[in-house]
Amino acid sequence: MRHRRLRVAVVDDEETVRRALGRFFAAAGYDVETYASGSEFLDAAGENRPDCAIIDVHLTGLTAMDVLDRMVEAGIDLPTVVVTGRHLPGVTERALAAGASACLRKPLDGETLLHAVTTAVHRAERGGKR
């Protein structure tokens, strides 16, 4: 397991953020795919499931919460890390309740993000059916 390259999906409607996170994960040795919207991601994840998804809360169209709900509906079970630029009360709780492994605040520190991703993936592997 340790030698397999993990594949992460970054979902953010802002291109600069998407590109930066993509570069960061690539530099950290991950395979990365980026999506500009929740529905784009859901379409792709149905066929080719990544190891972890990083989803921005404030997406135009479907929000991160909507995406999490759709994933449950569609039976897409994968670890997710939700990130938010606005510190609205209750966001973390709602994200965790909806099935997210972690909720991080922007601006994101790379090491924290990597730690959250690996934690999520490990937890999923330990408790998961895969």
Partner: protein, 670 residues
Amino acid sequence: MPQHRALGPVVVALAYLLGSIVGLSLQFPGTQISVFWPPNAILLAALLVTARRYWWTHVAAVLPAHLLVQLGMGITLPAALVNFAGNVGDALLGALIIGRLLPQPRRFDQLRAVALIVVVGGLLVPAITSLLVSGVFAWLGLTPDLWLSWRLRLLTNALAVITLVPPIVLTFSPSAWAWLRALRGRGAEAAVLFAVLAAISALVFLVPPAGPQTPSILLYLPFPLLMWAALRFGLVGASLSVSTLGGFALFAAVRDRGPFATSDPVENATSLVLFLLVSGVPLLLLAAVMNERESVDAGRRSIEMLHGAVLGSLRDQIAVLDRDGVIVEVNGAWRESGGAAPGAHYLEEWKQKAGDLGYGVQPMTRGIESVLRGERERFQIEILPAHSPGIWIQLSAESLPHTEGGAVLTVTDITARKQAELEVRERRSELAHLTRVATLGELSGALAHELSQPLTAILSNAQAAQRLLARDQPDLREIRGILGDIADDDRRAGEVIQRLRAMLRNDEPELVPLDLNEVVHEVLALERSDLISHRVVVLQELAADLPALRGDRVQLQQVLLNLILNACQAMAGRPAPERRIVIATARDGDFAQLTISDRGTGIAADALEQVFEPFFTTKRQGLGLGLSICRSIVEDHGGKLWASNNEGVGATFHLTLPADDGVSSEAARA
């Protein structure tokens, strides 16, 4: 009608009696022809100064007097009654016609009144009544020659009317007392005049002629004196001098002396009376004309006094200029302020003074010159003169509406008003700032997001670069790309901070050329995150031909920000797909128009205006100042802001702002 209780019927009756006795005493020797018959004139004068409803008292009072004299003379009762009817007819008819033709208030010292007394009272009415009286006498067989009787009655009456009626009615009119006052200090002149007149009259009428015939040239001797009396002492002087002359003439005539004592008494009487009429009538008219001119002069003097008093009482500095800009008149405030004196050329002096002080005078001199040339009615300018710091003055020039042209200049100290205006502007600007800060407070979450996005990208990019650089063969192309992105994101974050700072700062409003569409873009950039998190879609229908505006960027941003936030809040209860705002701009002549339509709850019909009142709010939070501040900002920009409900759902806010004189949107952007 004036009522003179003092002139009671008893006085009139006594005067009538006296007049009759005088008339009877002035009969040519050996005849029953009176050359001067005052009773009718006395009654006419009494009626003229008495209210019509009291006339009967005078008529009733003079009947006993009349009968007393006439029956005492041995005249039969029927003849006496005919005479009475004639006398009363004279007076009543004359008073009636003169009263009808004389405008109220009656002024007996005016030309019109004197002319009416002479023509109507002295000639027309006596001509008619004399005809009737003489006709009756002829019918009764009491007079041998109807026409002779008519002529004599007419002439003697006329002489009495022109010599007696004007002085009597004047005595009972207000101007009589003015005349007496005017006589004060001229008593000596009057005494000399009448003494000389009496002497000359005596010379003419009483001194026996040297030769067989009195040279008629002597008759002209009194005329200069009569003129003197009329010119210097007015109507009363004229009447008195004619009476004096007449008195001597009659006195002489009845004693068969003087130039009118020839063989035929009837002809004597006729020529004497004609002589007196011809000299008296023009004199009276001349005096009336003089009076009229004097009262016009007095009116002008009183207008000038009033004008001077009004000018002097004004605290503004006032100068009257003629059409060439030369000062004609100034008021006290102008003099005290050290303004140029009458006779000076105002514009030249001003140019000189302004040149010395070193500031531009073009707009002011041009404005005043255009008023002087009659090109416009009024010019007004507010000046902060360099030589008196902190003092605002307003200079206005108003054209004089008469043929010679010219203008009235008014200099007003408007410092107090200016200071008040300034204070209001400052307060309003402070309030606008406070509400702006409060609005931004509402947006703080969205603004944090707006900043955290570029910061996230920067941090991730930087950390990616660090990892890439740690490799043996770093991908320099990728790193170059990363650095480019970092720079862009940093710039973007910087812009957000700049906008925030502009809105949070409490700067003086600054008018700059603006494009309204650009203001829309800037506000949407600030509000982007908030709109996303409220799941509101904004459709922009922005016109390309929008005129450029002049305005304060931050304040107009505040207005749009407020309107968009209100629209979002109005739609909070709607399902997400229905939350839509349409922002449209359009050109409307010389105005730029902007509408913001939402699909929210709309506004109660009776609250469409109320929403712009201070402290009106439907929200649980918020002061309710937002829209009232928005409206005052828009009005400060010369525009309008109002609300209406949409036909379907929601409300629309309309904003119009005047274009910046003729500069196109493109130029403003350049």
